[in-house]
Subunit: 107 residues, 2 copies
């Protein structure tokens, strides 16, 4: 196993050209919410889960996005309810949330 | 396969308390260098490699650090020669650079 069982990256990029970006959709607050929830649940840290911010991951049109590694599962989300489902189902239960999942590739 | 064959995250965090951090060690410049090299080599983009910045990944004492997913291989680096070796060996050749690799866990 790598340092983290699940390493989650939220795109929190803010585009300078004013184009659509994850940050406009509240990705900073979303990332803070998930990090706080994981800490409260005692599942944040080495050997468990790490919630990170990241720069643009080049899926702006499908944002806001996050990706869960090592699986490489991509999600979009609208509200904290979506984020709670990703935490409970995927990060705690190991089950991908299909309704929020983005295609793996460009299909 | 996920959207990227290799998704690389450079910690580019700057600690507000002045403690040791990857940014002090030139991680912004390192990330720019690797991104530029991958673009020049024609290996940057969907289906290939993505070079991202990320917030603190909690390995400050071992920094500067980067991590390559989906493998979850962690590296440290000193100069562009190290970065060139990671590009050529790991990102182009699929071979981990053992001399720059960090332990997977806290051992």
């Amino acid at each position: 196993m790598s340092l983290y069982r699940y390493h989650v990256f939220f795109c929190t990029n803010r585009r300078e050209d004013g184009g659509p970006c994850c940050s406009q959709a509240g990705s900073d607050e979303a990332r803070e919410y998930v990090k706080r929830r994981c800490k409260d649940l005692g599942i944040h840290g080495h050997g468990q889960i790490r919630i990170n911010s990241a720069g643009c991951m080049d899926r702006c049109d499908q944002g806001p996005v996050l990706v869960v590694y090592p699986e490489g599962v991509w999600y979009t989300y609208v509200d904290n309810e979506d984020l709670d489902e990703i935490i409970a189902s995927h990060l705690q239960g190991g089950e991908v949330v299909e309704r929020l999942r983005l295609p793996a590739g460009d299909e």
